[in-house]
Structures are given as C-alpha cells and as structure tokens.
C-alpha cells in the first residue's frame, strides 16, 4: 500500500514536472547565437570521416581494444 502511494506520488510529481516543461522548456545556457566557435569546422569531432574510418581500422586490427568511439567497421585485414 505504501509502495503504491509512493509510486502515485512520484507519478504525480513527474506529471507536474511535465507540465512545467511544457510551459517553460529548459533554457539553454549557451544560446544559439553564441555557438559560432562550436560551429567552426575545426571543432568537428569527425572532420575527415574517410581518413578517421581508415585510422580506426588500423588501430582496431592491431590492438585488443575496440568500440567506444561510435564507429562501425568490417573486415579483417589482420594477418
């Protein structure tokens, strides 16, 4: 009974939070017009996708570690 009451309370609080979100979305602390530097190509995580895919493959077939960089690959080329 106590658990059900807690669950109901949390759901009510979440609904209230939703309503607040709907009224006033979270204000970004870096405004869109302040992102000029972040939009510069030198700040891109993957500026040269063909080159970085090749380097990821070189690293991956010569070490045990893999993943964690969001890249997909295939093939072995590892004899």
């Amino acid at each position: 009974m106590r658990t059900a009451r807690r669950l109901l309370g949390l759901a009510a609080a979440s609904c209230l939070l939703c309503q607040l979100c709907g009224c006033s979305p979270i204000e970004p602390w870096v405004k869109p017009y302040e992102r000029e530097r972040l939009a510069d190509p030198i700040m891109a995580f993957d500026r040269n996708p063909v080159s970085s895919a090749y380097m990821d493959h070189v690293f991956e077939v010569r070490a045990a570690a893999r993943g964690g960089n969001g890249a997909a690959g295939g093939g072995c080329g590892c004899n």
Partner: protein, 409 residues
C-alpha cells in the same frame, strides 16, 4: 526476497523517468536539426612496417535527397603484400591479397530526431564480413544535448588459404580454401549509447559507451602458439592457437574539444576498455588544430596501453598445457605510441560553381609498439645460444600516409 526487492526498485523509477523523457522530447520536438553536409572524398593510403606493405584507396560520396534524407556510399580497396612476423615465424612465404569493402548508409531526419541505417560488405580471399547498423539520435534542451543509441551486427565467414602452386623462388602464386579447415562463422553484436553535450560557448564533450559481444570462431587460422620442445633442434614447436568461442567487451570513450582564443582547437580523448578475456586497456590522445590562411594544420599524440589475455603466453610449456592458448600479439601486453601530423589546403576549383569548398589533405602517422611479452622468434638461434624464451622482445615501427581530396557541393 532480495531478488524481489531488486525487481521492484527499477519499476518504481521507470514510469516517472519515462514520463520525464517524453516530457523532454515533447518540449523540444518543434525545432529542426540538420543533415550531414553533401561531400565527396577520395583517399589514397600507404602503410608500411612489420614486414608488410598495404596500399589502399577509398571513396566516400554523400548526398542529400530532399530535406529529410541523406545517403552515402563508401568503397575501399586494400592491397596487402609481404609477411608479418607471425607468417614468417610459421615458415610461410610472403603473400599478396586484396580486400574490398562497400558500404551504404542513410540518415533520415524528422524534427529533432535522426535515424541512421547502414550496411557494409567486406571481402578478402579468406575473410568475408557483413555489417548492418541502426541508430537513433535526439537533440534536446535547445540543441545543447544530443543522445544517441546504436545497434550493430556483424557476421563473418572465416577461411584458411592453402598454397597450391609456388614459383621457382618459393613464393606462393596460387591459393585455394583449405578443405580441411572449411568455413567458420563468427557473429558480433554491438550496443552503444552516446551523449554529446555543449558545455560552454568554447567547449563540447562527447561520451560513448559500447558493449560488444562475439560468438563463434574467434581464433586466427594462421597464428600458432609456441611451446617448449627440447626434442626439436630449435627448442620449440608450433601448434594451432585455440581461443574461447565467446567474448564480451565494454568500452567507454570520452572526447573533449576546446576552442582556443587564437582560433585553434584542442582535442583530448580518453578510452577505457575491458573484456571477459581480462584484457584492460587505456587510450589517451591529445590533438591540436591550427588554421592559417588557406591552411589547416593538425598534430596529435596517442598513447595506448593494454594488459594481456588470460590465455596468452609467448612460450607454453607443452602443446596441450591448457584448453585455451594464444600467442596472438594483439592479445599480449604492450604499449604503443602514435605521433601524427597533417596539413589541409583549401582551394577554389575554377569553372565548377556547384563546388562550395574543396581541400587537399596530407597526413602521416608514425606508430611505435613495445611488446612486454611477445618475443621475436626469428632471432632464436641455438647455435648462438639464443633459445626460445630468451630471444629479445619484439618491437615494431609502422608508418601510415594518407593523401586525400575533399569537395563540398
């Protein structure tokens, strides 16, 4: 009782969390995101070191179709020639083989959500690989935050090549699949979650966590273990390696970029990796990018360190010392250092008004590997009193060069 308690705990938070997530998505669903830029790249690569030369070419073409879809096609060819230390230790001759890979990817944008789907196929004489991938990413909180989820499945067919004809010098000129080996299957699944967060007007952070599970044939058909054999003249014998048929790994990667006041970028990366073969690794990389007039210069240094797999040994005591045995140097303990430098030159293509931007790029990377327990078996020489297990540790240096052209249209 404890089990019941554990089961109740997630449920209590699931409904509010789901509602909050829906709330977050609802609150930002009215804005629009962007698709990747239309571009084409042509890359030529040259890899040399460790007894191998690998020359490659790669193309990427990416094009938007309407306002909501972007498709890309990638093709690459690697031509491998030479013989690594594993091939030479086993007594096999240098070889030459070609690997081809084709990949097709699509990104579909709807509001703040981007769906990605991709398929790639890689083929070499003794290895065929297919990969399918799906992903979804969502921008939220005024585009300060992007969360993503990815799923990837790879299934491979592994063969072993048998030399059926040699030339007068002893080099293999014709190979076929070894019927005794047949074909082995390997299946890999990857589950990833990612977060990209704008921190300040000068800095941005990306975090990715990925779990990869493998099942099937995880050994290398060409790699052998070495075991002590006093009855042989060299003091050692060779036997096929046997790896476990399952493996699960976890990797957490962080990438932090900072825009410096004099228009330059600093890049700091770190990755922690662990797997069920008890390999642990740390990767740290620092990069610096400096534009100057039409040029952009890059420099990077990467440090990598890993421990060895449970079943790895440079020299086993016998051919059947334990159930799983490997002398694969990629599963041994080692440190590696990579120094890289690159230059990009932006130029204008005359008589092609549809090209918005074009660059010529050159990059070179120098790798140094210091193995902690992988010895250079080619230096075993009982006549000079260099016996198996006492030969010098193996070190290798590699160079990778890349030359590529990129155009945006």
């Amino acid at each position: 009782m404890q089990l019941n308690g554990r089961h109740r705990q997630p449920r209590r938070w699931l409904a509010p969390a789901a509602l909050a997530l829906v709330c977050g998505l609802y609150g930002t669903a009215s804005r629009t995101d962007v698709l990747p830029e239309d571009r084409a790249d042509a890359l030529v690569t040259h890899y040399t070191g460790g007894g191998q030369d690998i020359n490659g070419i790669s193309f990427l073409v990416r094009k938007k179709i309407g306002d909501h879809v972007s498709v890309s096609y990638n093709h690459l060819v690697d031509i491998v020639s030479g013989a690594s230390i594993d091939v030479r230790t086993s007594g096999a001759s240098p070889y030459r083989e070609t690997r081809n890979q084709d990949g097709l990817n699509a990104a579909i944008l709807y509001g703040k959500t981007t769906y990605t789907v991709g398929f790639s196929h890689s083929k070499e004489p003794d290895y065929q690989s297919n990969t399918e991938s799906f992903g979804i990413s969502q921008s939220m909180f005024g585009d300060l935050t992007t969360v993503s989820m990815t799923y990837r499945r790879t299934w491979n067919d592994v063969y072993k090549m048998l030399c059926i004809m040699r030339d007068e010098a002893g080099a293999c000129v014709e190979k076929e699949h070894d019927p005794a080996f047949g074909v082995k299957d390997m299946d890999e699944r990857s589950y990833g979650v990612g977060l990209t967060q704008i921190l300040t007007r000068n800095s941005i952070l990306s975090a990715n966590f990925e779990v990869i599970t493998d099942q099937g044939w995880l050994s290398n058909p060409y790699r052998s273990i070495m075991y002590a054999d006093p009855t042989s003249g060299s003091g050692f014998g060779l036997a096929a390696e046997v790896d476990p048929s399952t493996r699960t790994s976890n990797a957490l990667g962080l990438d932090y970029k900072y825009y410096l006041p004099w228009k330059a970028a600093l890049d700091l990366q770190y990755r922690f990796f662990s797997d069920t073969w008890h390999i642990r690794s740390h990767t740290a990389q620092i990069g610096y990018t400096q534009p100057w007039r039409n040029w952009t210069f890059d420099g990077s240094f990467r440090f990598y360190k890993q421990t060895q797999a449970d079943f790895y040994s440079d020299l086993f005591t016998s051919a059947n010392q334990q159930n799983f045995m490997s002398r694969n140097r990629e599963l041994s303990a080692f440190n590696s250092y990579t120094v890289g430098a690159g230059a990009t030159y932006e130029f204008h293509v005359p008589h092609a008004p549809w090209i918005n931007k074009s660059t010529a790029n050159f990059r070179v990377d120098h790798f140094m590997f210091d193995y902690k327990d992988f010895r250079d078996a080619l230096l075993i020489d009982p006549t000079a009193h260099v016996f198996a297990g006492a030969e010098p540790l193996y070190t290798v240096q590699l160079n990778v060069m890349q030359l590529f052209l990129s155009v945006w249209y």
